[in-house]
Each structure stands twice: as C-alpha cells, then as structure tokens.
C-alpha cells in the first residue's frame, strides 16, 4: 500500500472477456497510474486491443470490473466514459474522411464542451471550440494541413489526426492503439515527437509493436500473452526477463 489510491487513474479487477469458448481476457488485474507512460506489448492475438476496448466500453466484460479513479465504470456506456476523460485512438484510422482536419478536431471539442447538440448557433461562430481545436492542431504541428480533407492527407499525417481528435477530448487517460502502425519508419519520429510532447498529466497507455518506440517512450511495460498478464515492470526489468524474451521479445531485442 505504498502507492496512494489517488495515484491510480484506471484499474481493472479480474477482468474477463469470452467470445464464445475463446477467452480473450483472463483475470486481468491492470493499473494505469496518473501521468503514466505505460506500454502494452504482446504477440498478435494476445488481446491488447480487446483490453483497450474493455477499458473504453466498446466491449462489455464477461466478468470483472473497470475502475476510473476508484469509481466503478464497468457498466458505463462508451460515451459516458469519454465524458469522464477516457479517450482513445484506433489501430485502423477512424476519421471523418470527407471533412477537414480542423472539422475533425472541432467535432471532438464541441462534444466535450457540450455544444454538440446545439442547433441554433452556427458551428463557425463558436470561437471557443475552434480556438481549442486550433491549439491541439498546432500542438501536433498539423496547422499546414488544417484546411485539407483528411482523405487527401498521407497516412502518417492521418495517424496524427487520430491523436488530435483524442486530445480534443481533453482526456485524463489516453489509449493509443498502435499509433505507428502503417507509418514508414522514416516518418515515425514525427509521431514519437508528438507522443513525447503530450501533456505530462495525461495517463498514456500505448500498444505498440515497434520496440524502439516502446523502450524510448515507456516507463512501465505490461506484457500480455493469450489474454493474461504475463509480466509487468520497468523497461529494464522487462528487457532482462528471460521468459519475456523467450515468448516475445527475443528477436526484437537482439536485432
């Protein structure tokens, strides 16, 4: 009990998820601390994205609980969890492709500020929404593309828009599902820079296969294998763990 309860941002207790006979999450006790830089790694099919889906409420667990700052949010719908500060990006881009970058972020900001259902005032006259969206866009250095339609952007820029939308929600917890997936390695530094400059108070959980990125970014790593937590610790501990090397890291670290 040396860590104060308040330092835990997001927590799962004995979380289980079955798809029929297939167990994709088995008794997962996971905690994400406030301001964490936490990586979730594991072989394909280990259940990493499923865990994110359980945390955001896109999936309902078969058993177990999800707690946000000690409060049980297991039965809370996705939209309500977003309002409480859980934002995510998707492994495969989920963007408003026909709209401009600015509009993409504005939609997120408007929802957070409770303006999303407003019918009387033109969206263009909400200086607070646009201003906030511009701030996020500038933070991710997307300003030159702000007026372009997302569908016209190169894939790497689109990945940044994913993050911009999530940041537009002003999250306390940010779940990044393979943010570097599909980006040419020459461009991945842009993404790494963006992640490195995320506000320190946001708890960030990143799923990533690029071990370079993981070890540069994470201060804590959880290894998931076959739906269960296999190992957890600091990057040094994980790198030194023989079992982890055996199941997963081996080639990636030796290379």
């Amino acid at each position: 009990m040396e860590r104060a309860v308040s330092a835990t941002m997001l927590e799962t207790r004995r979380l289980c998820k079955n798809f029929g006979a297939l167990e994709v999450a088995r008794d997962i006790d996971f905690r994400l601390d406030a301001g964490a830089r936490h990586a979730l790694i594991g072989p394909n099919g280990a259940g990493k994205t499923t865990l994110v889906n359980l945390l955001t409420g896109l999936l309902q667990p078969t058993r177990g609980a999800v707690l946000l700052q000690g409060e049980d949010v297991t039965t809370l719908a996705q939209a309500k969890r977003v309002k409480r500060g859980i934002a995510r990006t998707f492994q495969i881009n989920q963007l408003f492709r026909g709209l401009s970058v600015l509009e993409n972020v504005c939609i997120a900001v408007a929802e957070r500020l409770g303006a999303g259902g407003s019918m009387l005032r033109p969206a263009g006259r909400r200086a607070e929404v646009i201003g906030e969206a511009v701030r996020v866009i500038e933070m991710l250095r997307l300003q030159d593309d702000a007026g372009r339609r997302v569908a016209e952007l190169p894939y790497g820029r689109q990945r940044l828009v994913e993050i911009a939308i999530a940041l537009g929600l002003d999250p306390r917890v940010l779940l990044l599902d393979e943010p570097a997936a599909g980006i040419p390695s020459a461009e991945s530094h842009i993404l790494l820079d963006a992640i490195a400059t995320l506000p320190a108070e946001i708890a960030v959980l990143i799923i990533e296969h690029d071990m370079d990125l993981v070890f540069r970014f994470a201060r804590r790593i959880t290894v998931l294998v076959s739906g269960a937590i296999f190992a957890e610790g600091t990057p040094e501990e994980i790198a030194a763990n023989r079992d982890v090397r055996a199941v997963y890291l081996g080639s990636a670290l030796d290379a």
Binding site: T56, L58, Q78, A79, K80, R81, V82, K83, A87, R88, F90, Q94, L95, F96, R97, G98, L99, S100, V101, L102, E103, C106, I107, A108, A110, E111, R112, A115, G116, G117, S118, M119, L120, R121, P122, A123, G124, R125, R126, A127, V129, I130, G131, V134, R135, I137, E138, Q143, A146, G147, I165, G168, L169
Partner: protein
C-alpha cells in the same frame, strides 16, 4: 481567434453567399414570367421542400431511407382528413398539425428503426411506409381508401388570400414562402454544431461514438425534424392541389425523391433545388414527347449521373470550380 486560414474559412462558412439569393429571385421571377405554369411551379416547390427534408437525414446524417414518403403522406392525409371530417381547413394551423403528426410518426418509428443500419434500416423504412399506405387504403371511412379524398376545400391563407383554383397564383406564393422558411430551418441546422455532428455520424459512426456523442439520440432528433418537414411538404401538396390520394404514400414517390437528391447532389442543400427542377422538367417534357416510354429517358439520365457524376449535378459544378481555381492559380 487564431490566424489559421482554415479557422477563418470555418468561421465564415455559414455566412450567406451572394449566389444564394438566386433561387429566390428566380422563384419570384418565375411567378411573373410563367403565369400559365404556376401549377407546375407549385409542384416543383413542394417537391423541393420534400427533397430538402430528405437531404437532412440522407445527405447529412447518412441515414439511408426508402420510406420518406411515409411522412409526406402522413402530412398530406392529416390536413386532408382534418378538412374533410372536422371542417378544419385553416391552412397554416393545418401545416402545424401535419408537422406534429408526421414528426410524431418519425419519432416513434425512428426510436425503433435507428437501432439498425444498412439494409435492415432500408427495409424497415420501407415497411413503415407500407404499413401507413395499407392503413390509408383500408381505413376508407376516414381516408377515402383507394380513391382518396378529392375536392377538398381550404380556407384563406392568413384569412386574406384564397386558393386560386385556376391559375395557382396564391398557391405558388404560399408554397414559395413555406419553402423559404423550411430552407432557413434546414440551413441553420446543417451549419450548426448539431449538423456538423450529423456529418460526423455519416462519415464515421465508430469515431462519433468514441468522441462521446449520444449518436442515437442525435439521429432520432434529426429524423424527427426531417419527418415533420416532410409532413409540411405533404400538407402543402394536399392544400395546393385540393385532393389527396394513395399516391402520396407510395414507393414511387419515395424513390422519386431519392432520385431527385442523387440527381442534384446530396448533402449540399441546393441539390434538392437542382434535382427537383431537373427531375420534374424531365418528367414533364419527356411525358409529353414520349407518353409511353418517358421513364426510359429518366433512367438514362440517372445512369449517366451514377457513372459520371457521383456527386450529382452540383458535384460537377464543384469539380469545375476546383479545376478553374487550379488553372488560375500560378
């Protein structure tokens, strides 16, 4: 506000452009230029309003429906039955009653239908319309059944302007004013944050959930407003034509308005105007030239649009404008 050009563009987007006055100038000019075609003109105006209501759900929210005539018909029958059975023939309150009835049907059916997507949704909208059509067919004591209700009469508009049976002058202006008000409503909605959220639903449902939007509630609200507006269009139809029959509720009308929107370009407000005018003109002239096979011409036009102008006539205009801008830029 920030100095980003994109932010300025967005802040200015909802402002009225000079060319937006053109349809209304043309609408008033047509009144003086074509005094013998005002019945046709009235039909065009009613159809534009109907198509505009569909654009809100189909073009902006991305709800694919084949049953929008359900609401047009609900409005049309509401004013017809009120006038026939209760002697309630005051036009403006009739429009309000039609909006209320059609809106309620939209709300109730929307609460059920909008839980589904794609083909299921398409079929269910079709079923809703078929149910109403059958109800209108079988409730002959109230609806006049297969024959409908011919020879209705309506009171003076605002107590001042009587419906003009021969030349449709007052009908035309009445429909023009109601269309204008309906247009202002839809325009306000699509440029609001609510409207922006609807395009978000159309563009990516999963992401819209993930930004915390109450997606289904938004869709139901949009569907209800659209239904009420379609009901007003239907009521206008009955009032200006002084009759109502089963054709207002049929698949042909529902498909027709869909074609109009695809022809003109959906999700762009003015597609309803361009599409309705083009569709009805085609129907009018082709039916005169080839009374037996006029739908062939319509079909060919639609094939051409589907192949070469995916975004409708206004999509072509957009593409031309973009090309012109690229050409004039250094």
């Amino acid at each position: 506000m920030s100095g980003l050009p994109a932010a300025h563009a967005m802040a200015a987007r909802h402002r009225l452009q000079w060319w937006e006055a053109l349809p209304w100038v043309a609408g008033v000019a047509a009144f003086f230029l074509f005094p013998n075609y005002l019945a046709f003109g009235t039909q065009v105006l009613v159809t534009i309003l109907f198509a505009l209501s569909l654009d809100l759900v189909l073009g902006y929210a991305g709800i694919v429906t084949l049953g929008h005539a359900a609401f047009f018909g609900a409005g049309a029958y509401t004013v017809g039955m009120l006038a026939q059975h209760l002697g309630w023939n005051e036009p403006l309150s009739g429009l309000a009653a039609a909006a209320l009835v059609a809106g309620t049907i939209g709300l109730v059916s929307g609460l059920v239908l909008l839980r589904t997507h794609g083909l299921t949704l398409l079929m269910l909208t079709l079923c809703t319309m078929a149910l109403l059509e059958q109800a209108a067919n079988m409730g002959a004591a109230w609806t006049g059944g297969f024959d409908g209700m011919p020879g209705l009469s309506f009171g003076k508009i605002l107590g001042l302007f009587a419906f003009d049976v021969l030349y449709f002058r007052s009908q035309y202006l009445y429909a023009l004013v109601v269309l204008f008000l309906g247009f202002l409503l839809v325009r306000m909605l699509v440029y609001s944050s609510f409207g922006q959220g609807l395009t978000g639903v159309r563009e990516n449902l999963l992401r819209m959930h993930a930004v915390g939007a109450p997606v289904r509630a938004r869709l139901v609200i949009a569907y209800t407003i659209s239904a009420a507006l379609a009901g007003v269009a239907g009521a206008l139809f009955t009032q200006t034509n002084a009759f109502v029959n089963l054709a207002v509720l049929g698949l042909e009308r529902a498909a027709g308005v869909l074609i109009i929107l695809i022809l003109g370009g959906y999700g762009r407000l003015y597609g309803a105007f361009v599409g309705a005018i083009l569709y009805l003109l085609l129907e009018h002239t082709l039916a005169k030239a080839y009374p037996t096979a006029w739908q062939l011409g319509l079909g060919l036009t639609l094939v051409a649009v589907a192949l070469y102008a995916r975004n409708g006539i206004l999509g072509i205009v957009d593409a031309l404008r973009r090309r012109l801008a690229a050409w004039s830029a250094p």
